[in-house]
């Protein structure tokens, strides 16, 4: 079977790219190919100028990887033992090592459990340990495969601001796989969606909303309960979807402007308050997944914005991916 099929993309230095898709879509498979531990059956991959499979060891010095469900830490030993070993493994200069460890300890709040054996850590604590381990050697690129899986809101927030900071301060390129769309909205300028092994979207998070037939919603508070609002012809598709006393909900295409709608409603009715709700990204993604699965079953109507296909050395055929 084909776990991934004709995937092609290019990631520029310093980007934070979200990589999402339903279970079994091929996200982890892509990450494994990008690190060189899986060999694609066809296609072409370059990461940081290297061939991941043939130059796996050289590449490993330049990248960091977190597989959320796995750990690279020494289970029976305190966290610091694993970190110290990484210092030797990556030959990190002592001063740099201390500086990084201090910073990460602060940002990820590791202080309380640095000296506790990993097997006694909670999932969230261990994950923060693994994140640190992936970044201690100042990699240019990090692949994070579900780094927020199973974390509470506080830990998630800590991980997100940590990643944002690392990206901002060091220009680290981040490829982030997740099922938590908040991660994507808060961190990623760009998102790639994979479904059924095919890339079905590649572009901005906002563009994602426009991509499917998403709708925005106006919540209109009237002075008094009234029958259904009398809506203008513009934009087409606008309709009242719910009435609850003086409050009514008006849905309209996400791509259309809200201005004419608001003008018309306020002209015709006595309005106390109006608020605008963006389409729920969960809903957007759900539609995209379903559409993606259908189209990849039907065949080649895939790929959103093929950014980077201008550079032939960075793209490829079946299961080809690239990151730079």
């Amino acid at each position: 079977m084909r776990a991934v099929d004709r995937i092609s993309f290019r990631i520029d230095s310093g980007e934070v790219v979200g990589y999402i898709g339903p279970n079994g879509a091929g996200k982890s498979t892509t990450v494994k190919m990008l690190t060189g531990i899986l060999t694609p059956s066809a296609g072409h991959i370059r990461v940081a100028g290297l061939n991941p499979v043939r130059q796996r060891v050289a590449l490993a010095r330049r990248i960091g990887v977190v597989f959320g469900q796995r750990t690279g830490l020494w289970w029976d030993l305190p966290l610091t033992d694993s970190f110290e070993l990484l210092r030797h493994l990556h030959r990190i200069p002592s001063a740099r090592y201390r500086e990084n460890l201090e910073l990460f300890t602060e940002l990820l709040d590791l202080g309380a459990f640095l000296h506790i054996p990993v097997r006694q850590l909670s999932l969230g604590q261990r994950m923060r340990g693994d994140l640190t381990a992936a970044l201690l050697h100042d990699p240019r690129i990090v692949y994070l495969d579900e780094p927020t899986i199973g974390l509470d809101v506080v830990s998630k927030a800590a991980v997100r601001s940590f990643l944002a900071e690392i990206n901002r301060e060091r220009g680290t390129t981040v490829l982030l796989t997740t099922h938590d769309l908040d991660d994507i909205e808060r961190l990623c300028g760009r998102v790639m969606v994979i479904a059924g092994g095919r890339l079905v979207y590649d572009g901005s998070v906002d563009g994602l909303r426009g991509r499917v037939n998403a709708e925005r919603t106006l919540v209109v508070d009237l002075a008094a309960p009234a029958p259904r609002l009398d809506l203008p012809a513009e934009p087409p598709g606008a309709r009242v979807i719910r009435v609850d006393g003086p409050r009514q909900w008006v849905a309209f295409p996400a791509t259309a402007s809200a201005a004419p709608l608001i003008t018309a409603i306020t002209a015709r009715h006595e309005v106390v308050d109006i608020s605008l709700r963006e389409p729920d990204i969960d809903e957007v993604v759900r539609r995209l997944y379903l559409g993606g699965l259908r189209s990849s079953a039907a065949a080649a109507s895939s790929v959103g914005d093929p950014s980077g296909t201008d550079d032939p050395s960075e793209t490829g055929g079946r299961s080809a991916t690239s990151a730079k």
């Binding site: 279970n23 029976d76 030993l77 030797h88």
Partner: protein, 264 residues
């Protein structure tokens, strides 16, 4: 190079965290030392000078090999690598900028050192208190024994490494591990010293890599090898170490090149 020393250190320390397991292991190894000593005493009283050992040699063999069991781990716990292949955790190991086999060897040497120092000395010490043992008196024999034990651990590692790698193809190395354990039990000399194996079976068993794990270090300890014979014995171990490690490297390359990594 430094990183492998650090790995070995951690291999030592992580086993040191399981003290009660070490104590239980030392106790069991000692108990079996006594049982085996009495079996061998009975055998050597019936067949004195069997295989060139006298009864004191045989008793010493029993306790010494109980001492070696834990460090060379012939049928002890398999390399954790097999389990990591099975679960896919090996993905984390494969993306380390270090030699894959060297990493696992270093960790295993650390483990063996702990096993020898904190668990292995007990059966030999207990045996020496209860029986008259044939302990080496000359320092160079102790030195040769140390080298031989190190080589035994390396050969044992190289075998267990191959067993663990089989999980890349078989999905699970436990079956292979069980078979390898039985082979090791028989051909290492642990069940019965290989010197007591008759004719061609003895010659065959003494040429196999398992002989390098138990029989050879024991004979070095008993002073059975001297001069060129000693060099030959250590050379025999070193040759198996090199062959099996090289084979391990070939298999590693084959595994890394085409085998799937389990788990999402």
């Amino acid at each position: 190079m430094r990183v492998y020393v650090e790995v070995a250190l951690r291999g030592f320390r992580r086993h040191a965290t399981y003290r009660s397991a070490a104590v239980a292991g030392a106790f069991t190894n000692t108990m079996f030392g006594f049982i085996r000593a009495y079996v061998l005493i009975a055998l050597w009283q019936a067949r004195p000078q069997l295989g060139g050992y006298d009864v004191v040699d045989a008793v010493t063999f029993a306790f010494l090999t109980q001492t070696l069991i834990a460090p060379v781990a012939v049928f002890g716990a398999p390399l954790e690598l097999g389990e990591r292949v099975r679960t896919g955790d090996v993905a984390m190991d494969l993306q380390r900028p270090a030699d894959f086999q060297g990493w696992w060897l270093a960790a295993d040497l650390g483990r063996a050192l702990f096993a020898l120092g904190f668990r292995g000395v007990v059966p030999l010490a207990a045996g020496a208190l209860a029986f008259r043992l044939d302990l080496p008196t000359e320092p160079h024999v102790w030195l040769a024994f140390a080298v031989s034990t190190l080589l035994a651990v390396v050969v044992s590692f190289a075998l267990r490494y191959l067993v663990a790698l089989s999980a890349f193809w078989l999905l699970d190395d436990r079956g292979v591990h069980a078979i390898a354990g039985i082979a090791a039990m028989f051909f290492s000399g642990l069940l019965l010293p290989l010197v007591a194996f008759p004719g061609w079976l003895g010659a065959f068993a003494r040429a196999l890599p398992w002989a390098a794990i138990i029989q050879v270090p024991a004979d070095v300890f008993l002073g059975e090898h001297t001069g060129a014979g000693l060099a030959g014995a250590l050379g025999f171990q070193a040759a198996w170490a090199v062959i099996l490690l090289a084979l391990g490297r070939l298999v590693t390359a084959a595994a890394a090149g085409k085998v799937v990594v389990h788990g999402g």
